[in-house]
């Protein structure tokens, strides 16, 4: 065997699982052509315009909803004591969770030398950014006075008032803003060499100027690459703890309170697993249509889909473990309120949502044990939607059912979402999709230069 791969590269690449991470027959040139053409030369498909316009219409709905909210106050939502957190925080946690898959794929899988990540990382990172943008909207507008949101930050002020540093809600401000910043940097740094490719290949003057400015003078010299590799690895190291820390802090938002259904020690790892679960579901939801529309089956192969399905199976089982232990301890603990909380979830007014959650998150995903399911694109797509719904229901159940039955029956209440609850939620889905449509149209959705390193040609040069 001539020129064996270095030992460390061989590990964990999952070699031997059959389907390659890039279809045979590609060269440096064909990879660059195929990916950059989506942005530069190919006619934009009609589907893109239709999709973009739908998403933009929903974004318009979001703007209307938020404007009305600012004028009228958050009374337009169904939130009211005892259910002071409802759709807004459910959606916040849901969106933040979705972002986690992007960070996991780009940072952790990079450090673990999982080369299959290469064709999905750019795309997943963009998804993270869009999801964090959507997530940020909810707590910001839930304050009711978003123009005073800077009060959340600790700064010396004439009133001598500081945030309550013991409150995880304050940690959340730091966690989420750090997360957004690092994700943006990581994504942009990774884009620089490809932006230079677009600059060099662009036929239009505007394109050359815009891509040229964004490429920061990248010429591809050995020195540039050396600095780039160092910076990218460092950013990956910084981003890795964020995969765990952000959703851990989100789980503390609930767990440090003494509300039955919130105050339980399993929350941090179980929230993190749930975040990755929903994030991978969303990556599948998006990548399956995109690879079909743009003909990228050579780059996003069945191997990628199957690996993502496996991650979903594992994280889904961890989530199921969380439900099991939580229910068992609610009984075992002997606390009447905890016991009632679980019983209320199972049989109370929101029971249909609870059972739907178990169906979507625990029962249906067990079909992922079968390889035939993991490699069936249609089934995977439907399943990813099911898990997206399931993970949304999970947050809804945790937040609403825990709050609506307080310690005192006299303070019990019900929550009903209003039109504006729904419109804001749908609006953020529109915003998320609109941003992604723009990304797909104007930036290379697969990392061109990293894909080239996967080719046999690149191996020969080492």
């Amino acid at each position: 065997m001539d020129n064996p791969m270095p030992l460390e590269e061989r590990q964990l690449t999952g070699a031997g699982s059959g389907v390659p991470v890039i279809a045979p027959g590609h060269t440096f040139g064909s990879v660059t052509d195929k990916i950059s053409a989506i942005v530069l030369t190919r006619r934009t498909p009609i589907g893109w315009y239709l999709g973009f316009m739908t998403a933009a219409a929903l974004t318009g709905l979001l703007l209307v909803s938020l404007s009305y909210l600012v004028v009228e106050g958050i009374g337009i939502w169904g939130n009211n004591i005892p259910v002071a957190w409802a759709f807004d925080i459910t959606n916040f946690v849901w969106w933040i969770g979705i972002g986690h898959a992007g960070t996991l794929i780009s940072a952790i899988l990079l450090l673990l030398r999982q080369t299959w990540r290469t064709s999905i990382n750019r795309f997943a990172e963009a998804m993270t950014l869009c999801a964090v943008a959507c997530a940020g909207i909810f707590p910001l507008f839930h304050t009711g006075r978003p123009w005073l949101a800077y009060w959340l930050l600790p700064y010396p002020n004439t009133m001598g008032i500081w945030p309550q540093f013991r409150s995880p809600l304050v940690w959340d401000v730091f966690a989420v803003s750090t997360y957004a910043t690092v994700s943006l940097l990581f994504w942009f740094v990774g884009l620089v060499p490809d932006l230079a490719t677009l600059r060099d290949r662009s036929q239009s003057r505007t394109g050359r100027i815009i891509y040229g400015a964004l490429a920061l003078g990248w010429r591809g010299s050995a020195m540039h690459w050396h600095r780039y590799e160092t910076a990218y690895l460092l950013l990956a190291g910084i981003a890795t703890p964020l995969v765990v820390s952000v959703h851990t802090v989100v789980s503390f938002d609930f767990a440090v309170a003494i509300v039955p259904g919130w105050h339980t020690t399993i929350f941090p790892p179980y929230f993190v697993a749930g975040a990755i679960y929903s994030g991978f579901a969303m990556v599948l939801t998006l990548s399956i249509p995109i690879r079909a529309i743009y003909g990228l089956q050579d780059f996003i192969t069945l191997r990628h889909l199957e690996n993502m399905a496996k991650v979903m199976l594992v994280t889904g089982l961890i989530v199921a473990y969380g439900y099991t232990v939580e229910a068992f301890i609610a009984w075992y603990g002997g606390n009447a309120y905890e016991g009632f909380m679980i019983w209320n979830r199972i049989t109370g007014p929101y029971a249909p949502a609870y059972w739907a959650l178990l169906l979507c998150n625990v029962i249906i995903p067990q079909i992922l044990w079968f390889k035939s399911v993991r490699t069936n694109v249609i089934v995977l797509f439907v399943l990813s939607l099911v898990v997206n719904v399931g993970m949304w229901l999970e947050r809804f159940i945790i937040i609403v059912t825990s709050l609506h039955r307080d310690f005192l029956p006299s303070s019990w209440g019900m929550y009903q979402p209003t039109f504006w609850d729904w419109s804001t939620y749908l609006g953020t889905i529109g915003l998320f999709l609109m941003l992604l449509f723009l990304f797909v149209r104007f930036l290379p959705l697969i990392s061109i230069f990293e894909m080239r390193t996967l080719l046999p040609e690149a191996k020969g040069e080492q």
């Binding site: 065997m1 030992l7 460390e8 964990l12 020690t265």
Partner: protein, 405 residues
């Protein structure tokens, strides 16, 4: 090629060590029996701690082995045989559980009918916390753990003999379900044997905390074993710095996980400050025990964490072995801190049996481990990953391959 020979033929001194360890264990058992006669309550407390420690070595190894079946990677190929040998101590551990079954009355308050009669909360838990069901559950746990270990080891041996690649598929399938079973059963075993020492207290992360501890114990032990083996032929020609680097990175990950789980549990209970939960920490954080807790913060997390960030430490067999051995000691102290304060609520107390029983059980466990290690080839030569993970090194006659970064 020497790789097909059994460890017994390659490393003859294993037999001598095995005998010495088993003899030491037998001597320790005699001494421990004196302890049992003098102070049975203390005997069972120390025994439970020592037992959970050695059980963690076997179960953690079993779990890591199953993870490797599913994930692949060179890190697991070089430690596969020690993993198997550690898992094959499980039948002996099953027998070693009997003293706990006999000592239940000394350990578990909920077995006292008079206490339960005056305690409505414990009455509510009687459906789960009662002696017959406790024993039935233990039987289920051991049946499942032993069954999984038995099948995986048998198929692996068969593969060694026949080279049948299809067995790998079968082992992977069992490992998928096996990990699920291991996770659930170990959680409930942790609830039964350790959490119910404080029968009013509960924590949903407790099982995860014990599982993470087992993985860390097993990884640290396997690193020590691999360093020891790598000083002898034939592994001295095969195990290279990057193997230690990978294993040490995994150990670092487990150190961080343990700290993450422990801190999460502490923060959530401290913030809530509910009487039913915080009492558990109040016993463990009163003067005296607080010092043990601080020792854990420093030596179970901070020091190994900082050391394991260093590339030089991870790649040098001598230093990584020392770090791993220190982590094993810290693991034992962690179990001590989880168990002993429940019985000594007025301040820190270390009995001579807290030293004698771990020494005894570790000697016996290690003796069984050596015995199991001897019977098989030192590397899984027919493992599908074998060629890929170790082929180049063997081809180059032990030259360290160029590393990726």
């Amino acid at each position: 090629m020497a790789l097909r020979q059994t460890a017994d033929e390659l490393i003859p001194e294993l037999r001598r060590y095995q005998r010495q360890l088993l003899l030491a264990g037998a001597a320790g058992a005699v001494v421990s029996f004196v302890g049992y006669v003098l102070n049975p309550a203390q005997f069972f407390q120390s025994y439970l701690m020592a037992y959970m420690f050695v059980l963690g070595l076997s179960l953690g190894s079993l779990a890591l082995g199953m993870v490797h079946q599913l994930s692949g990677g060179a890190w697991g190929v070089v430690i596969r045989r020690p993993i198997g040998a550690a898992a094959r101590v499980l039948p002996a551990l099953t027998v070693m559980f009997l003293p706990i079954a006999f000592g239940m009355h000394h350990l578990y308050e909920w077995t006292h009918a008079d206490v339960v009669a005056n305690d409505p909360i414990l009455q509510g838990k009687q459906l789960y916390l009662n002696t017959p069901f406790f024993l039935v559950r233990a039987a289920i746990y051991f049946a499942a753990w032993n069954g999984i270990s038995f099948l995986l080891n048998r198929w692996s041996l068969e593969q060694d003999r026949t080279g049948d690649r299809r067995l790998s598929r079968r082992m992977q399938l069992l490992s998928g379900g096996g990990l699920l079973a291991y996770g659930l059963l170990t959680t409930f075993a942790a609830f039964d044997w350790m959490m119910s020492l404080a029968p009013h207290w509960f924590s949903t992360i407790y099982g995860v905390l014990i599982i993470g501890g087992q993985a860390l114990s097993a990884m640290a032990f396997l690193i020590v074993v691999l360093v020891w083996l790598s000083r002898r032929k034939p592994l001295s020609d095969i195990v290279v710095a990057s193997h230690f680097h990978d294993l040490a990175n995994l150990m670092l990950a487990f150190v961080m996980l343990w700290a993450y789980f422990s801190f999460s549990q502490y923060l959530i209970i401290w913030s809530g400050n509910l009487p039913e939960e915080i009492t558990w920490y109040m016993h463990r954080l009163q003067p005296g025990w607080r010092l043990v807790a601080l020792l854990l913060v420093v030596f179970h997390f901070a020091v190994p964490f900082v050391l394991l960030l260093s590339r030089a430490v991870k790649r040098e067999p001598d230093t990584i072995m020392k770090v791993a051995a220190a982590i094993l000691v810290a693991r034992l102290i962690d179990l001590f801190w989880l168990i002993a304060p429940e019985f000594h609520q007025d301040g820190v107390y270390v009995s001579w049996m807290d030293v004698a029983l771990p020494l005894t059980l570790v000697s016996l466990w290690l003796g069984c481990f050596m015995w199991q290690l001897r019977g098989r080839a030192i590397l899984p030569v027919y493992d599908p990953q074998f060629e890929e993970a170790l082929g180049p090194i063997i081809d180059q006659g032990g030259e360290t391959p160029r590393t990726a970064h």
